[in-house]
Symmetry: C2
Subunit: 351 residues, 2 copies
DNA sequence: CTGAAAGCGCTAACAC
DNA sequence: GTGTTAGCGCTTTCAG
C-alpha cells in the first residue's frame, strides 16, 4: 500500500502557470478579481496537469466539503432493503440527488440514523463532525423531527425537509399530496363512483392528513359521502389489509378504494381476489405509490406517480444554492404528482 | 450561515485529559504503546466532550479517509433508476456495503462513471483525487475493465472486483454463477424436464459464460442435449423476447427455460402467455434474478436468489481489512446462490 | 511508553 | 488584481 499523497496539488498548478497559490484558488472557486487571461492560463495548467482539488483540504481550510448528506431513517430503510418489497424510494432519491449534486460538483452521501432514539442527537452530531457536510437532506420521518431540525439549525447547516410543509428553518420541499389525492378521487368520481374509500397513512406523517384533505374536498364538491369510508394503516401490508377489511365490511361498502401506499393497495387487491370481487368491475383500486411492482400485478394498478427524484433534486439544488449565497426562499416548494391510469380502475358495475 | 469549525477537536480532548495531542491520536487510532489507564482517561474525555474526529483532517494528515467508493456504471445505473423495472441491485449493494462500512467506522460513497468512455481514466483519477477513498468497490462491468483495475493498482488503492473471478490485482468476490446455473438446471432435471433451454447473458460479462458452463455440465451429467437450446440476450426485455422466440421456434422446443435475468424471464413469460402455453404446465420458467417483481407476476417465478448484499459486504470487509494490514488473500471469494422455488416451474406435461 | 515539532493541501485574511 | 501569511485538525516523523 503506497503512501498516497495528492499527486498534483495546487502548488504544482501555481508553479506551472507561474502564479501564486491564491490565484489558482480563486480560479478554482470562480471568485472575482482575476483577469480573464490569467484565468485561462491557470485553467490550461489545471487541465494539462489533470489537477483536481482535494475536498479534504478544501474542507480543512474552512471552505466547503462538497458533501451533502441524505439522512434516512435507519430502521425503515434497512427493512425496506431486506424485505425487497419493490420500493424504490432510495433509488429515486439517489437519481434526483446524485445527479443534481454532480451538476454542482457535489456528492451525495447516504447516512442512516434512528429516528426513535434518545441518542439521536449524539449520532447526528457525530456524523456532522466526521463528515462536515455542506448541507443535509431530511427525509420523512426525520423531516418533521424537531430534535433534528433544531440541531441542524443550531449548527448553521443548511438543510431541506422533504415531505414537510411546516414553516420553520430549512427548505420545505414536498409532493403535492393533497393535489394527488384530489387527482385520484376525481378520476374515480369521473368514472361514476359514488362511494370512494380511502386508506390513509399513519398520523406521524404530515402527508397522511394532506391526502385525507384532498380526498374529502373532492367528495364534498361532488356532494358525495365520506362517512364510513375512511380507514387507516401504517403503509404496510397487514394494516392495509385490516383497513380494507373494515371498509368492505361496512354497512355500505365502497366501489373504489384509494390506498395510501403500494403495499396497502396490494393488500386490498388480495382481499378483493379472495372475496371474488372483480377488479375493477366490482371494486376499483388506486395506489398512492407507483413502485415497480404495481405494474406487474394483475390487474396493473392505477397509481399516483410520486416525483421523488424531482423532489430530491429540488431539495439538493436549494441547499446548494443557499451555500452559494442564494436568497433563502421562504415558501415551501410543492411538486405536483401525476396519475398513471391502468387496469385497476373502471366504471362501477351498473354505472 | 455560521462559519463552521470543528466544535470539539483533538486539542480539547488532550487538554481535558491532560495529555498530549499525540496520545489522543494514538487512542483514536487504536495504536499500541498507550497504557490502559491513559487510554481510559482519554476515552472518558472523548465520550464526555462528544468528540468525533474530522475525516477531512485525518485525510489531510495523510491517514485514512474512512471513505469507500462504490463505482457503478453511470449509464446502466441511471437507466435502471429511470426505467423503474424493479431491479434492486443498488439497494442490495447499499445494504451490504453501508452496513459493513458502518461496522468499521467507514462510509460508502456511490460514484457513477462511464465504462465506455475514452476519458474514463481522467474521470476516475478526478474522483480519486477529490475523494481520496481508502478503497474502491468495482461492480460489473467495471470489475473487468483493465483500464480501471490498472489505474487503481498503480494508485495503490485497494479494491475489490465484484462479479469477477479473474486473477490479478484486487479482491475477486463473486456469486457462484456456475453453481447457481447448476442449481436451476438440476431443479428442472429433477422435475423431469429433458429439454432445458438457457437464455445466456451478453459476452462482455464473465458471469454469462460461467452460467452456460453450469447448465451444460448438469445436462451432460444427466445425458441430456444442449443442441439448439442455448440462446443469448443482453439482460433486457427485448433481446430476452427474441431469444425465447428462437428457442420456442426451434425444431424441438424446450419444456423449460432458464433466463439469465428477470427481464428476460418476464419476456419469456409474456411470450408463453401470448402463445397460450401454460406456465408451468407447458413451459417452466426460471429467472436468474430474484428481484421484487418476479414475486408479483403470475405465476410467481422460480428464481435464483443472488446474494448481492453479502457479496458487497464481503468485498467491503476485504478492502477494509487490507488497509488494516490484513493478509492480501489471493483466492477469489465465491458466495453461493440459492434457488427460490415458486409456481413457474413444475413437471412437464406427460412426465 | 509519551511528547514536541513539522507539515498535509487548501483558503481566509490581509497586504501590495 | 494579485501575492503573502497564517492557520484549519490531524498524523507523522523523531526525540525523550
Amino acid at each position: 500500500m503506497a503512501r498516497r499523497r495528492q499527486a498534483v496539488t495546487i502548488r504544482h498548478v501555481a508553479a506551472d502557470a507561474g502564479v501564486s497559490l491564491q490565484t489558482v484558488s480563486r480560479v478554482i472557486n470562480k471568485e472575482p478579481n482575476v483577469r480573464p487571461e490569467m484565468m485561462e492560463r491557470v485553467q490550461a495548467s489545471i487541465a494539462r496537469l489533470g489537477y483536481v482539488p482535494s475536498i479534504a483540504a478544501q474542507r480543512m481550510a474552512g471552505s466547503r466539503s462538497y458533501l451533502i448528506v441524505a439522512l434516512n431513517d435507519r430502521e425503515r430503510t434497512i427493512a425496506g432493503w431486506r424485505n425487497r418489497q419493490g420500493t424504490d424510494w432510495v433509488d429515486q432519491m439517489l437519481l434526483g440527488g446524485m445527479l443534481t449534486c454532480a451538476e454542482h460538483g457535489y456528492r451525495l452521501l447516504v447516512e442512516l440514523v434512528d429516528t426513535h432514539s434518545d441518542h439521536i442527537e449524539r449520532e447526528l452530531l457525530g456524523a456532522i463532525a466526521a463528515i462536515q457536510p455542506d448541507g443535509v437532506i431530511l427525509t420523512p420521518p426525520h423531516s418533521e423531527n424537531p430534535l433534528i431540525t433544531r440541531l441542524l439549525e443550531a449548527q448553521g447547516i443548511s438543510f431541506a425537509r422533504i415531505g414537510s410543509l411546516k414553516p420553520g428553518a430549512g427548505f420545505a420541499v414536498a409532493i403535492d399530496d393533497e393535489g394527488a389525492a384530489r387527482l385520484a378521487t376525481e378520476h374515480l368520481v369521473a368514472l361514476g363512483h359514488r362511494r370512494i374509500g380511502l386508506i390513509a397513512g399513519p398520523d406521524d406523517y404530515e402527508l397522511s392528513g394532506r391526502r385525507v384533505t384532498g380526498w374529502r374536498a373532492v367528495l364534498a364538491e361532488a356532494g358525495l359521502p365520506t362517512e364510513g369510508l375512511l380507514a387507516q394503516g401504517d403503509f404496510g401490508f397487514e394494516t392495509g389489509r385490516a383497513a380494507a377489511l373494515a371498509l368492505l365490511d361496512g354497512p355500505a361498502p365502497p366501489s373504489a378504494i384509494i390506498a395510501s401506499s403500494d403495499q396497502m393497495a396490494l393488500a386490498t387487491l388480495e382481499l378483493a381476489r379472495e372475496r371474488g370481487l372483480d377488479v375493477p368491475g366490482a371494486l376499483s383500486v388506486v395506489s398512492f405509490d407507483d413502485t415497480p411492482i404495481v405494474r406487474f400485478v394483475h390487474p396493473p394498478l392505477t397509481a399516483i406517480v410520486q416525483p421523488i427524484a424531482e423532489v430530491t433534486a429540488r431539495a439538493v439544488a436549494l441547499v446548494i444554492a443557499e451555500r452559494a449565497g442564494g436568497a433563502p426562499l421562504a415558501a415551501p416548494v410543492i411538486v405536483p404528482a401525476t396519475l398513471a391510469v391502468r387496469a385497476s380502475t373502471g366504471r362501477p358495475v351498473g354505472a
